[in-house]
């Protein structure tokens, strides 16, 4: 009974970090940002070798049956390398969607394909994080019509899984007739977003949950925790780089880290960011244990990391001086990843409003 990563969890993080150190240099990120789909195939296969795709898939379905805490540990490592892989949906949220909302038969069918890396499932939530007018879905029996916006991990998916406002989810092939995908590059070049339209497409409907909307929210919350972990990793990478730079860069005859201005900026970043490690673990753990606080923690972890991430990204860039603003340093890939994470699955303002509603803090 203790509040710390277990030996296995630490090793998991190490192994992913070590793999990424070797296989996800900044050049790979840069290349993806220029032309990629958000899924660098070499990385995807390498992670498969590490068993990452099966993380949340039960052992009987070919996975390792671990929890969101482990997923958060991996997400942090991926954020730390700005790694372009569709982890959020395909590895973290999709298996949870099947476990929460799918029938036994559906789980039998889909989970092994997820664990095996064959199914890469892009996901969208319609009616969950504030509508801006463009999205609306309807299911006529098993025929899906309408459109979903800001669909995630949609660069190279095999399938789409979209949640309807009532908590049902529909899953269908990415190439099915009647599916049209408008893929948009984003500020974070490594991760596109898609608008996907469905024209009466036959879909498999996940509707086994006792409380479908609650089940959908659990999946959304899990996604938020994963995004928080990703931002944590990215922000920590930026802070680490800022500190290293501050120890090495000389101006006015002194290493700049010896100036209080720079030193205090680094101290401020560390003071903001360091508690976030425990916070993200705690939020993930609350998901895994279905604690009464689980929703509150997910909303707050996402919102808090969104804010801290933004601050750290700006300050770490500033510590680098002009170098931080260039593509050369590559710092901005993390900055933009943090900016992307902030906006998807509900920005911090939305997450906090949900936290307020959960606690009855309303008029």
């Amino acid at each position: 009974m203790e509040f710390a990563l277990s030996h296995e969890q630490t090793l998991l993080g190490e192994s992913v970090r070590s793999f990424l150190r070797d296989h996800c240099p900044i050049e790979a990120v840069r290349a993806q940002a220029a032309t990629g789909t958000g899924c660098e195939e070499g990385l995807w296969r390498g992670l498969l070798d590490l068993g990452v795709q099966g993380l949340l898939v039960p052992e009987r379905h070919g996975g390792t049956g671990l929890g969101l805490l482990e997923a958060a540990v991996v997400a942090q490592a991926l954020g730390g390398a700005a790694a372009p892989v569709p982890f959020l949906c395909s590895v973290a949220m999709a298996p949870l969607a099947l476990l929460r909302s799918g029938s036994a038969a559906q789980q039998d069918r889909w989970l092994p394909r997820i664990a095996g890396g064959e199914a890469r499932i892009a996901m969208g939530f319609v009616g969950y994080v504030g509508g801006r007018g463009g999205a609306a879905l309807s299911l006529d029996r098993d025929r899906l019509s309408g459109a979903a916006e800001a669909v995630l991990d949609a660069g190279a998916p095999t399938h789409f899984l979209v949640y309807l406002p009532d908590g049902r989810a529909a899953i269908l092939g990415a190439g099915d007739a009647g599916v049209s995908v408008a893929l948009r590059r984003t500020l974070d070049g490594t991760r596109p977003l898609a608008e996907v339209a469905f024209d009466g497409v036959e879909a498999e409907v996940l509707e086994a949950a006792a409380d479908p909307r609650a089940a959908a929210l659990q999946v959304l919350d899990a996604g938020r925790v994963v995004l928080a972990a990703d931002t944590l990793g990215a922000a920590q990478a930026m802070l680490d780089r800022a500190v290293a730079w501050a120890k090495q860069r000389v101006q006015f005859g002194r290493v700049i880290g010896s100036f209080q201005g720079v030193k205090h900026m680094c101290a401020d970043m560390a003071t903001m960011l360091e508690p976030c490690h425990a916070f993200v673990w705690h939020a993930a753990y609350a998901q895994d244990t279905r604690s009464a606080e689980a929703r509150l923690m997910a909303c707050h972890a996402k919102a808090h990391l969104d804010e801290v991430g933004r601050e750290v990204a700006r300050m770490a860039t500033e510590v680098h001086g002009g170098m931080g603003f260039t593509d050369l340093s590559g710092l901005h890939y993390w900055l933009k990843r943090i900016g992307f994470n902030r906006q998807v699955l509900g920005g911090p303002e939305r997450c906090r409003e949900e936290a307020a509603a959960l606690q009855g803090w309303t008029a």
């Binding site: 009974m1 203790e2 509040f3 710390a4 990563l5 277990s6 969890q9 805490l69 500190v243 501050a246 120890k247 002194r254 290493v255 880290g257 010896s258 209080q260 720079v262 030193k263 205090h264 680094c266 101290a267 401020d268 560390a270 003071t271 903001m272 360091e274 508690p275 976030c276 490690h277 425990a278 916070f279 673990w281 705690h282 753990y285 244990t289 923690m297 707050h300 972890a301 919102a303 808090h304 804010e307 906090r352 936290a355 307020a356 803090w361 309303t362 008029a363």
Partner: protein, 406 residues
């Protein structure tokens, strides 16, 4: 990672709740800054120690409860007391700084003599560190002690000595080896404030209380065995003390508790019939603060685990005072805003009074400004975080001085 409430912990939580249900009504009010504990608080403290909710992990032989460190138990206590807005036990410099220092580097005799009455709130300690010319720059203290017929004889002048006017004892940083380099010439003495030759002059603070003092020493005699570690080790001991202070001041339990009080205040305060917790700006600020408190709460659990494992958490520990103090101040600032104009009239009735909630918030707000300064300004804290925590280089020395820091 395992925070599962085992059967044992579920039972423990029930036990804490039962204690609060039964005894909570006898709790002194919370908040409001430092004062000498009154009878009610002393009784409460003894009750807490008896049940293991204060002095929990301090050995029984020294007057504590003698429980094994257990991160979850500690968390349960903090959580339940905070949630119920029940007094979490006395927190003062003796308890948060001196006791852990003695347990770490004191002799058995020193522990036996001082730990018990200190954790009970019966002996109040003050900290003899700062001097007029050595505020942030602690290592340059000039108060000196020389050995004369079996005693240290102390002469000098301390300032910013909180609680000195009602303290029973002082832990004193003074210069005993004037010929050695700055940091190697110091010793850490324990002395009674009743010793002849001590004069305490209150320094009234912005809270209207005399929370600080100047203390003048004229040939003050301290028995030779009232030194912690040996001569010349004062800087080392003082840093151990400050390490524990940095743990203490930003304490996440206190933050959780304060957030809880703040939520209650915003729920209860209605303007034009609308509770402030539903008013746009107040709620937005509260939500931001709640997120931050949750982060520190989790961080605190992690630190407790580090502590239980006997690991030095390094950076994680170093950030606590700075981060926690700033956040604590922002919590009380929101409370002061919620109180509005009417809150301006909520004044403390004095050091020994049971003030109402509004007065306590006003005091917390002002006192927190002191905390931002006390124990080293925020700038010093950030130097420590940057240098010891992140390994950034110190300020270069300026010729002809020992200059660094600020």
């Amino acid at each position: 990672m395992d925070l599962n409430f085992s059967e044992k912990h579920r039972a423990f939580q029930a036990e804490v709740r039962e204690f609060i249900r039964r005894h909570g009504p006898a709790s002194p009010k919370t908040g409001g800054g430092r004062k000498r504990p009154d009878r009610k608080t002393l009784d409460w403290q003894r009750l807490l120690i008896e049940h293991g909710y204060a002095g929990r992990t301090i050995p029984r032989e020294y007057g504590g409860y003698g429980a094994a460190p257990d991160v979850l138990e500690a968390a349960i206590i903090a959580e339940e007391f905070g949630r119920a807005n029940v007094h979490p036990g006395i927190m003062n410099q003796g308890i948060s700084m001196l006791v852990p220092t003695l347990l770490e580097v004191g002799t058995r005799e020193q522990c036996e003599r001082w730990v018990r009455p200190t954790i009970r709130g019966e002996i109040i300690w003050c900290q003899g560190y700062s001097e007029p010319e050595a505020g942030s720059d602690l290592a340059s203290v000039r108060t000196r002690a020389v050995v004369e017929d079996g005693h240290f004889v102390v002469n000098g002048h301390k300032i910013w000595t909180s609680s000195a006017h009602y303290a029973d004892m002082m832990f004193l940083l003074c210069r005993t080896e004037p010929d050695k380099p700055k940091h190697e010439g110091l010793s850490y003495l324990l002395l009674s404030m009743r010793t002849p030759g001590i004069e305490v002059r209150p320094l009234r603070t912005m809270t209207g209380r005399a929370e600080f003092n100047e203390v003048f020493f004229t040939d003050v005699r301290v028995p030779l065995d009232q030194i912690v570690m040996g001569r010349g080790h004062g800087w080392h001991v003082a840093n151990i003390t400050l390490k524990h202070e940095r743990m203490g001041i930003g304490d996440a339990g206190k933050l959780t508790h304060r957030l809880q009080r703040l939520v209650e205040l915003l729920r209860a305060t209605k303007v034009d019939g609308v509770p402030l917790i539903a008013a746009a700006e107040f709620r937005s600020r509260l939500l931001r603060l709640q997120g931050e408190v949750l982060a520190w709460r989790a961080h605190n659990l992690r630190l407790l685990t580090d502590q239980a494992r006997g690991e030095d958490p390094g950076l994680r520990r170093l950030i606590v005072k700075y981060g926690g103090t700033v956040l604590g101040h922002r919590l009380s600032a929101l409370a002061v805003d919620a109180l509005g104009a009417e809150g301006l009239t909520a004044l403390s009735q004095g050091e020994d009074a049971q003030d109402d909630d509004a007065a306590n918030w006003n005091n917390d707000y002002l006192y927190d400004i002191g905390l931002l300064i006390g124990g080293g300004t925020s700038n010093i804290q950030r130097n420590i975080i940057g240098e010891r925590g992140l390994g950034l280089p110190r300020e270069p020395r300026v010729p002809g001085t020992g200059g660094r820091g600020a």
